[in-house]
Symmetry: C2
Subunit: 229 residues, 2 copies
């Protein structure tokens, strides 16, 4: 069985990506990050999802992106609420974390090389998160090229592949795909600004994109956003 | 004054790189990593060098590369000693750490973007460390391309530059350059396998390359390797 690293945030995109990697027959090693984000509930969700899909290993790497600053997800900047769909689609939000996916993929690459995996899955999506530069296909392609230059395995002629199976899908399509693959959506968590009890805010970009996705997919969200239904 | 991030390991290459960035007039933010390496003496050296050059800020990021395995620098594999110069030059050594420079540059990129720096300095060297894939010019060029696709600043038309001023220099040339710029070599530390008291082993690739470099430069090493003089 071929090994793969799957980046797992605990949200529904990465959970669907994990389900797709399993369906393709990979022996999955899941990797999550504690990066000073406000919501450690993401990590709890990631653990439950990893267990639910019976992955080979699940590692949580601690990295202190807060030390570098520059994002509402790691600093004390307010998470924006009630942005219009135009705004969500056109502007890089303050929730952008500098170089986040570059750092995540670098860690995945290190682990992949060490365990002999040559496939790395990441649940980025260019449609709903068009504002994030590191969610675009050109970023993924460029990282794949880097991976094959940066490593002993790469220069030895083995080939790393970065899989971003959701990159061109709408949220509704992702949700339908997850549903087909038996993903238990109640395990997934997407809010940028949950309460201390883990309740979703219903108002951030992530809650609103999730709510719209479920609505368009015609599937009820078992963990709905409070104010967006 | 333009800001720059300088990756600072505590060895003589990164210290010389820092001296060059200062000479070019950059306002320097130095970044070191504690990555489960055996020798925390590197960090102590980095702190002394940063202080000596009066950098604006020096941060030490903790990352647990040990968790990923795959290297004599982070695992319990023995550091090779007494390799021939042919071997040093032709074989990727077990001291190679998977994706290390990719991870280091990713962190540097995150910090750079957050503080408005667009220049990142790294002291890699392709001649003496030809065995490490992530010390080659093609790796550096590729990372620079990635940086400009991966970030809000990059896609907004600002340009990140990755500077690797030592990349084509011999160790002797690096040492001469450091000497010209007033680098206090006694602050630098290069051994892969120091004793618990910080004494260098004199036998690893790094000690031997350093000793040869000082010999060829015709400069005495104030912190000489024990068995290579």
């Amino acid at each position: 069985m071929k090994r793969a690293i799957v980046l797992l945030s605990g949200g529904l995109d990465s959970a669907t990506t994990l389900a797709m990697a399993k369906q393709e027959g990979y022996d999955v090693f899941a990797l999550s990050f504690e990066y000073g984000q406000r919501h450690t509930i993401e990590i709890a969700s990631a653990k439950n999802i990893a267990q639910n899909f019976d992955v080979r290993q699940h590692r949580v790497a601690k990295i202190d992106l807060r030390a570098f600053g520059g994002s509402a997800l790691t600093d004390s900047i307010d998470v924006p609420k009630h942005r219009s769909e135009d705004e969500i689609e056109s502007k890089i939000p303050v929730t952008y974390v500098p170089a986040r996916n570059t750092i995540f993929l670098s860690y995945a690459l290190a682990w992949a090389e060490a365990i002999g995996a040559r496939d790395i899955f990441i649940g980025v999506n260019a449609l709903d998160y068009s504002g994030y530069p590191d969610c675009r296909p050109e970023f993924i392609d460029q990282f794949e090229r880097l991976a094959n230059l940066a490593t002993k395995a790469g220069v030895s002629g083995e080939r790393f592949r970065i899989h971003a199976p959701l990159i061109a899908m709408t949220k509704a399509e992702i949700i339908r795909k997850g549903g087909e693959l038996g993903l238990d959506f109640s395990l997934t968590h997407s809010c940028y600004d949950p309460g201390s009890d883990g309740a979703v805010c219903g108002e951030c970009d992530s809650c609103r994109l999730r709510a719209r996705g479920f609505r368009e997919a015609g599937i009820p969200d078992p963990r709905p956003c409070l104010s967006s239904s």
